[in-house]
Amino acid sequence: MLTEHGRAQLQTQMKAHSPRLYEELQVLRSDGEVTGPIDDIPPERMREMYRWMVLMRGFDKKCVTWQRQGRIGTYAPFEGQEAAQVGSALALSNSDWMFPTYRDHAAAMVHGQTMANVLLYWMGRMEGCVSPPGVRVLPPCVPIATHLLHAVGLAFAMTLRGERAVAIAYFGDGATSEGDFHEALNFAGVFRLPVIFLCQNNGYAISVPFSRQSASRTIAQRAVAYDIPGVRVDGNDVFAVHRAVTQARERAVAGLGPTLIEAVTFRYGAHTTADDPTRYRDQRRLSEEWRTQRDPIARLRLYLERRDLWSAREEEAWQAEAAALVEEAMQEAMAAGAADPLAMFQHVYADEPWHLAKQRREMLESRGGASA
């Protein structure tokens, strides 16, 4: 049984955690009204945000269809999370390094990865891991939370060389349970590195709800464990996300160290096309709720419309443009032709050792080719 004293002490402690840490910063309400400062975002930038989100949603929906048709493999959709990805990526500079997961192709494309490469990736082609020259986007990270440390290391390298840029790692709510999350935040804190840890808390790690994933009410509060700033924002509010990342970036390049950002959002669809969300949540209701009440694109449209920055005609043009770009990307991906199995022997090492040369010849022979 708890003593009187013990109970009192416990209660004081629980209260001691500032409620500020659990607040969700919001600028753009679901109804399109603005409740905070937005002077930092010029109108053209807002329209750019909108167009990117429209394009990304178009891409994502098409991929789900293509997966069903067998044109691409298992695919991880991000519909619903456009503001978190586009808003954050647009706050970066070209010199920043991005470490995305399998669900962050929207962010990756905003930062310069090509749509065709993203498609190749989901077609099971290693070419899809490559990014265009000068584009600082690493391939999607599959093992959860591991890439947070790569961002730390890259930020460290930049610091050691005096480069003024940041590394940003994208990850989900589930990722915050892995040891690597902890180690990454601690390293970044100890060495005061210019890293932005951007968590998209979409409420689920596959089937596991956040309440079951984590012992803490929020992810932002975990920053306390490292004495670094933690920010919780409405992840479907593209302005709020953009601002949080902009500020984190300012701090980082000013040498003030890392920031943990929790963007609260929701994926409308399945975890991947191999997943059936109706097994673990009231998918129809939840998905509908978020779509109708908290959609990131709809609220920006309302805002833009009221300020005459949007018109139905433009919308049509943008949608058409999106459809065309996505189709074009697929054409480009298909133009890569059939995958070459012999390519698997390349790039295991910078130089080919004897055993791989031998195995390559074996494959060639077993495929009826001549020994090379």
Binding site: G124, S207, D340, S366
Partner: protein, 327 residues
């Protein structure tokens, strides 16, 4: 009574029966509760046994394996699911430094009876790191047992044996044959002993030693070689990779005088090398030809567009048989 079941259904049935049979058995892993695991291996079990027996954990494999060790020390029998084998990597310290060593260092005072189940292997067009086959890592770790079923019947019987085993067992389930075929599986509890291989095809000319999803590929190759060449290949499904069934391997090779090891893991330092060495040490004089290894290439398992080329194919196995027979 037996019904035709897929391998993954046989796995599920073993879990179901042991949960009913022994209240010390608990399952834990990611998405194994309400979601019934990503391959449905635990489908419906949380509804039947409750969330204290079928435990959805946070996303942390070291956490899962470490917690399972504690559960085992506390008298329970945890059966862990690792969602895909490569995701065991963050948990290897718990497995290597603790699960495998606890009985030994405490001189038998504390055992760690637990099973780590993991879907593994290539061939289902999975994303990156969903297709690894690193059984050699476990076989090299004293204190662990390593089991791989090659068909639904064995999957059920071996998993039941693994759960009843007093030592930690790594139980690898080949995803490629999770639903590739159905087979008659008896109802009720039955055991397939750990440590015993199975001759799935008799023959006198050459022994193909293999396991997991490769058993089917090897069988097809053996059939083709018999049709095309009249050679009768014996196919041995190893079933337990550590400790291997020495007697079965030697008996087969002493009969045939020729052997081929087939596995989908990388060739270098793969388990095939151990089997070649065992035969070399104990039956060299019976050998009429070098033992070839038909294995996954020594490249990172490539993305799925070319995974079928990474895997040993019927074609490659046939070439291996031909070279060995014609040596």
């Amino acid at each position: 009574m037996s019904r035709a079941l897929h391998l993954v259904q046989a796995v599920r049935e073993a879990l179901d029966l042991k949960l009913a049979d022994d209240e010390r058995v608990v399952l834990l892993g990611e998405d194994i509760g309400v979601n019934g695991s990503v391959f449905r291996a635990t489908d419906g079990l949380i509804a039947k046994y409750g969330e204290h027996r079928v435990i959805d954990t946070p996303l942390a494999e070291s956490g899962i394996i470490g917690t399972a060790i504690g559960l085992a020390l506390g008298g329970l029998i945890p059966v862990v699911e690792i969602q895909f084998l490569a995701f065991i990597f963050p948990g290897l310290e718990q497995l290597f430094s603790h699960a495998a060593r606890m009985r030994h260092r405490t001189r038998g005072q504390f055992g760690v009876p637990m099973v780590i189940r993991a879907p593994y292997g290539a061939g289902i067009r999975g994303p990156e790191l969903h297709s690894e086959s690193v059984e050699a890592l476990f076989a090299h770790t004293p204190g662990l047992k390593v089991v791989v079923p090659g068909d639904p019947h064995d999957a059920k019987g071996l998993l039941i044996s693994a759960i009843e085993d007093p030592d930690p067992v790594v139980f690898l389930e080949p995803t490629r044959i999770y639903r590739a075929f159905r087979e008659a599986v008896p109802e009720g509890l039955y055991r397939v002993p750990i440590g015993k291989a199975k001759v799935v095809r008799e023959g006198e000319d050459l022994s193909v030693i293999t396991w997991g999803a490769m058993v089917r590929t090897a069988l097809r190759a053996a059939q083709r070689m018999e049709q095309e060449r009249g050679w009768r290949c014996e196919v041995v499904d190893l079933r337990t990779l550590h400790p291997v069934d020495r007697d079965a391997i030697l008996a087969s090779v002493q009969k045939t005088g020729r052997a081929l090891v087939v596995h989908e893991a990388h060739r270098t330092a793969g388990l095939g090398a151990e089997i070649v060495s065992l035969i070399n040490e104990e039956a060299l004089l019976y050998l009429q030809a070098p033992i070839r290894r038909i294995a996954g290439y020594d490249v990172p398992v490539p993305m799925f567009a070319v995974e079928d080329d990474y895997l040993p194919t019927e074609e490659r196995i046939c070439r291996g048989i031909e070279e060995t027979m014609q040596f």
